[in-house]
Symmetry: C2
Subunit: 411 residues, 2 copies
Amino acid sequence: GMFPVQIGRLHESITWLKSIFTSLSGYITVGVLDTFINRPALGILPPENFSERLKESLLSVAPKGLPQVMTMACGSCSNENAFKLIFMWYRNKERGRNNVTKEELESCMINQPPGCPDYAMLSFMGGFHGRTFGCLATTHSKAIHKLDIPSLDWPIAPFPRLKYPLEDFVKENQQEEARCLEEVEDLIVKYRKKKKIVAGIIIEPIQSEGGDNHASDDFFRKLRDIARKHGCAFLVDEVQTGGGCTGKFWAHEHWGLDDPADVVTFSKKMMTGGFFHKEEFRPNAPYRIFNTWLGDPSKNLLLAEVIRVIKREDLINNAAHAGKALLTGLLDLQARYPHLISRVRGRGTFCSFDTPNDATRNKLITIARNKGVVLGGCGDRSIRFRPTLIFKDHHAHLFLNIFSDILANFK
Amino acid sequence: GMFPVQIGRLHESITWLKSIFTSLSGYITVGVLDTFINRPALGILPPENFSERLKESLLSVAPKGLPQVMTMACGSCSNENAFKLIFMWYRNKERGRNNVTKEELESCMINQPPGCPDYAMLSFMGGFHGRTFGCLATTHSKAIHKLDIPSLDWPIAPFPRLKYPLEDFVKENQQEEARCLEEVEDLIVKYRKKKKIVAGIIIEPIQSEGGDNHASDDFFRKLRDIARKHGCAFLVDEVQTGGGCTGKFWAHEHWGLDDPADVVTFSKKMMTGGFFHKEEFRPNAPYRIFNTWLGDPSKNLLLAEVIRVIKREDLINNAAHAGKALLTGLLDLQARYPHLISRVRGRGTFCSFDTPNDATRNKLITIARNKGVVLGGCGDRSIRFRPTLIFKDHHAHLFLNIFSDILANFK
């Protein structure tokens, strides 16, 4: 047999886990429970059934055109490693058929180019992509996320500030989106001139922490085209929007892209972090994208069950339907209380509205909480909805009735 | 009751989890199982019993002088967030009683100083601290970890290259360590002159990925003094060394520091990532060190059991004892096969030796594997031991017998 010099398990004599293990032998397979009590170094010693677990969980909901998946332990690590994937891909494009040079191998050890090239990710003002060092250089939502942490000179483009109701400001909003796209192209060119290469563009389908800021499907299609035109990877961060709440499993499926995104990151409701990517982004050698845990197989198991329930109970369509009831109700409240509610917007149940100011927003959240409704804030003065997928029309009406009373009595 | 607008649970109708839940009601409490099937946003909605779980797990093994703990999802996130903690602490020292300025709040949003100050962590050549962006700027172990990823101009000091056997090179090794410490001070001064402030120093008690490089306890005590003298935080990365394998729960406990480290990071065998820190490093406002999951309470539950077993079976002393058997045996093999084995070194079972070159090392690893022994490589040409804590003297002898045969027949 195998002599366990290397492997770091320590659960052999863990008594209560053993007792669960014994008691469950009639109910579930050994492989399932083992997944919960043993944390493997996934990249080196995956559990026997892990590729099956990926097929029944993440790969069963892979965005079209992105057949490759990698799991990670959290949302920040997902974006950090997606950046690395993009930088490696970009450098390999530049390198062509040439080998890695000795100079590259030596200079990278001391953080210097050419081994550590002066590449950048382009991000958007108001975006949030996580709080670790690389992610944080692309996050521009609130000062508390960024203050006192050294950062990088990476380009930051404006995100469209749409006027609502959308149907009254069609032309203005088109102009606003065109202005932002033009700025993206200008930044790519400007940074290349100073020898800082934009290797990728990162964007959320709906800027969430930054205030539930939306842009049109047309804006995102054009942005995708700009990325391709300039040879940049297009990374869609679905950490907050993914999982069905917008009325599609992935929010970016609303856009109708001809050419898929290159990389899509996820976490939160997906139970595990990670990213999907195109074949051509696959690292050209093993261990280039790697860490000890690379996620946690027990979370894939939970996700597989979540997806089974989503399909069985048609919860994506449910989110689309319940979201309409919620949005319609919010628009009605906006018409009745325009001094308290403005800019009602949403996709599926991923809805939000603005309040006049931070103080009013916080007061509304507190009053609602005291009546049993948990609401969340985002941006400067927005209130956002993030209900579970089992939120139905009658939950929307229950909320709308309570909130209508709150607004009627608000002083 | 509470109306669940915000919380993202989806396990209510997960059938097999329900069946486990029902079947276990006679064996374990509801709170325990809930921990495994529900992944909370720990910073906002920790489970009721979470402070108890921290006390029985992480806080029961806190290094002396570090009463505060924060959990994280992995080793990289632990170091990334420890850096952030240090940068915030350093900036608050500089700021004194002054308030954060409007200029800081505005400039940080676009990655610029003064809001994002030009701070740095000093690291050591050969060190490994993770692969996300901030960590990677302090990692200098192998080119494959770093190639093609943009980095930062942060100072990198030499790590002592000790000569073995230690007793034959006392004076040379003292000189080597003094040279490295002098370089640390020179780098701090040199970087301050170019307005890049070294806010902290990060080091592993034994450089692991980099080749199991050791330094003397005296070296680390002096390094701690240098950090204090220059106002830098002293961060000890115990991601690979922590958990008992060196013969103490934390490897840095061997040093006998008068003034404890400021921050100690952990992950891997601790089942969860995170860090301990001194009171004075506590962030001055909530949500400054934050992310959605902030770890995973189910891992604290596993860790509590691991620690209970470690204590019950006296596994730390076991590691010290078995480590001696292993090291003595390796020294004997070194004496008999000096053309194959050199620089035998170790603390507890955290042992290693050098082979003549990469090819010989890999051949030895393959032959051993075919005889049922899993060995790992590190550095250019080292073989390292990372057995479980239940590795006993007889396992050491079993290994030594097999490996002695391998060496005798090696061609």
